[in-house]
């Protein structure tokens, strides 16, 4: 067993942290949060510096952790321009890779992924968007999506819809992903204002009214969209888990900084215990996350370990910001800590709520329990 990251990753961590501390100034963090604005300038800067290395998943994970540790809203905007790109990498055609994926990877375009709908949150199989064969060729898309990250800034989206008429009686085998551009007739979008946190992240509702989708924009095989999305979630949930670890560490940082600066605070055993308890939980969350990551990056993702990491880390993020804010009190109610407190809550909700993670853990685990000798048997 080996619990240490290689030195080059730890060096990279320092670099990312320097960037975050330098670029995410108090003023900017407050500005983007208050105005609910996408930090396009900082994103471009990070791109131009080639700061985030999407080719090394460990680096990406550490980058996420360190960016979220300082500011989740800005951090997310910087790394999420390629949100969903793994799907195109795995299942996209050459045409799609060339036209859509490559510009994203070069940092020239922003993409988004549309799964969630007004009546179907964590229940992906319950979506209502419809993709129908166009008798004149291609397909017709109708429906809408909500809570879509990069909704207003993305140059194209991967949209999950149900086939109509159905390709299969099983709804899991009747969903298709297609690429939709905002310039296509029938497309409209509305920015969703008023988030509790991660307000620098761009969020929108998308509407599709008889959009014509050319055949070449259908991703992979029709009917397999649900599986593509689930495979993607197995990947993205590891990164969400790293987001949560970053937030929790950020909250712990405030408590430690305060104890370091103020002897009156440091002399309180109650604070000392809080620091000890939080450090332990943050480390536990980090270890669960790294374990899930280590399997995923080795192409052996384990949904049980991934869901454990995401659920536990999200809970830790909320818990850590809560404890830190209680102890730091009123002076902290206008600082980055109060922002972290608001940001943290989304971790339990997006890309599979904690409730869904728990069901995944239970069901997948119980399936495995044929093997009586293993742990958990």
């Amino acid at each position: 067993m080996d619990f240490e990251l290689p030195k080059y990753i730890e060096d990279y961590r320092k670099k990312i942290r320097e960037f975050a501390v330098l670029e995410f100034t108090d003023e900017r963090r407050r500005y983007y949060d208050e105005h609910e604005k996408f930090p396009m300038e900082e994103m471009k800067k990070a791109l131009s510096l080639k700061l985030v290395d999407f080719d090394d998943p460990w680096k990406l994970m550490v980058a996420i952790e360190e960016l979220f540790r300082v500011d989740p809203g800005m951090g997310n905007s910087i790394i999420s321009y390629s949100f969903g790109s793994e799907i195109l990498k795995m299942y996209g055609s050459d045409f799609q890779k060339k036209k859509y994926l490559d510009p994203v990877l070069r940092g020239e375009k922003i993409m988004g992924l549309g799964v969630t709908e007004p009546v179907a949150g964590s229940d992906v199989a319950g979506i209502a968007s419809r993709l129908s064969k166009n008798p004149k060729g291609g397909w017709i898309l109708n429906g809408s999506k909500i809570f879509i990250t990069n909704g207003m800034v993305a140059d194209f989206f991967l949209i999950l819809a149900k086939n109509d008429p159905p390709l299969s009686k099983k709804s899991h085998q009747n969903m298709t992903l297609s690429i939709v551009e905002p310039t296509m007739p029938g497309f409209s979008r509305v920015k969703m204002y008023g988030k509790l946190g991660v307000r620098a992240t761009d969020t929108a509702q998308l509407n599709f009214d008889d959009i014509h989708i050319p055949d070449e924009n259908v991703v992979g095989e029709p009917g397999k969209g649900f599986y593509y999305v689930m495979t993607f979630f197995d990947i993205s949930r590891v990164y969400i888990s790293a987001q949560s670890v970053g937030i929790a560490q950020g909250a712990l940082d405030s408590l430690i900084n305060r104890a370091s600066a103020d002897p009156d605070i440091a002399s309180s055993e109650s604070i000392q215990f809080a620091v000890a308890e939080l450090s332990t939980r943050v480390d536990a969350a980090r270890l669960l996350t790294y374990r899930a990551a280590s399997l995923l990056f080795d192409f052996k993702p384990d949904p049980v370990y991934t869901s454990m990491a995401k659920y536990y880390s999200a809970d830790t993020a909320v818990y850590a910001t809560d404890v830190a804010l209680r102890f730091l009190g009123l002076p902290a109610s206008v600082t980055s800590l109060e922002r972290l407190y608001r940001d943290a809550k989304i971790m339990e909700i997006w890309e599979g709520s904690s409730e869904v993670e728990k069901l995944v853990i239970y069901r997948t685990m119980m399936k495995k329990i044929g093997d009586k000798d293993g742990r958990g048997a």
Partner: protein, 348 residues
């Protein structure tokens, strides 16, 4: 609850549904409308605890608790303004020579008041005031409702000045909760001789406000829980109402129980004479409950809960902000322990 208080509760509840509920979300971004304040004043709801001849309702402790709770269920910001004015501002004014004139204006809703909470709570690192050559000056960070005309300035644990003018709001800060009021740094610079001075123990004001704070926390809890309960009976996932899932039902049931037990305790304390010892308990407990229930309420609303439109996320913010603006966590725990054990908890 006796008949009189039941009538009050139903009156306040009706008023809140009719007048506060429709504007409660707008309050968060645009502040409390003057029109609403005037309407409340006409019903005597602003000067809740001040005598009727000053335009108030002269409510007793239980009545006050009922009022704050009902308002907080829809607008914690508004409830806290009422508390700040009744439990701090007007309590100081009562003792001032020409205080009744100002009380009348506040109770009439034509002026609002605020108090320098950081110095009153004795929170370090939020600025301080200095007396020099007959003037008092300094900057305090974190004044809620800074645009109020009347500022009650706490300069020491038992000394207040009532200032009308003589202060400058220097910069607004986006604060965690109670966004229906602004929050900012305020620079004070006023002449001692021409300002009203009142001797009053800050400790007494804080002690007396404990049941009011608890009432707002309980109101927040009911506001959040009621919304979660209705949503869980309307929203479906995987073909079932949320409430049909055990973990959702059990979480809500457990909150419901905790809230009922805590509310009973509050009501029983409020029905009796002042009991500072036990009022500390209810304050601490109600605040914890508000934070925990509002967290669950967001969770049950899923992505929607994260957006201001659904009116749930503010309870989460307000609950924690209420905790922080009503005391210092560690200092409160130290005081509680001292009270219970009759000796001082040491820093070791």
């Amino acid at each position: 609850m006796d008949e009189e208080h039941k009538i009050l509760e139903s009156m306040v509840s009706d008023f809140v549904q009719r007048e506060v509920s429709p504007v409660s979300k707008a309050i968060e971004t645009q502040g409390i409308p003057q029109e609403l304040l005037s309407k409340m004043a006409r019903q005597g709801l602003i000067g809740a605890t001040v005598p009727q001849d000053l335009g108030g309702s002269d409510l007793d402790r239980l009545g006050y608790v009922i009022l704050l709770k009902q308002i907080a269920m829809e607008s914690p910001s508004l409830a806290f303004l009422i508390l700040m004015e009744n439990s701090y501002v007007m309590r100081v004014l009562e003792k001032a020579e020409s205080g009744n004139d100002i009380i009348k204006k506040i109770a009439a809703g034509s002026e609002t008041g605020t108090v320098t909470i950081p110095t009153m709570l004795g929170i370090a690192g939020m600025g301080s005031l200095e007396a020099k050559a007959g003037r008092i000056s300094g900057t305090i960070y974190g004044i809620l409702n800074p645009s109020a005309r009347i500022h009650v300035v706490c300069i020491s644990p038992d000394s207040f000045y009532v200032v009308d003018g003589g202060y400058k709001v220097s910069s607004f800060l986006e604060q965690l909760g109670f966004r229906g009021m602004k929050f900012s740094s305020v620079s004070y610079d006023f002449d001692v001789a021409s300002s009203i001075h009142v001797e009053h123990r800050a400790k007494d004001l804080l002690e007396d406000s404990a049941i009011g704070i608890a009432a707002i926390a309980i109101g927040i809890s009911y506001g959040a829980l009621n919304r979660a309960i209705s949503y869980s009976g309307e929203r479906k996932a995987f073909g079932h109402y949320l409430r049909e899932f055990q973990p959702v039902a059990f979480t809500l049931a457990s909150h419901y129980m905790d809230l009922d037990i805590t509310n009973e305790y509050l009501m029983s304390l409020a029905s009796g004479p002042k009991d500072a010892f036990h009022e500390n308990f209810i304050k601490a407990k109600a605040l914890d409950l508000a934070i925990s229930i509002s967290r669950s309420a967001i969770q049950i609303h899923g992505g929607y809960g994260y957006f201001v439109d659904f009116g749930v996320e503010r309870f989460y913010r307000d609950a924690m902000f209420l905790k922080n603006i009503s005391g210092d966590h560690m200092r409160d725990m130290e005081r509680l322990s001292d009270l219970i054990f009759g000796e001082t908890v040491k820093r070791i």
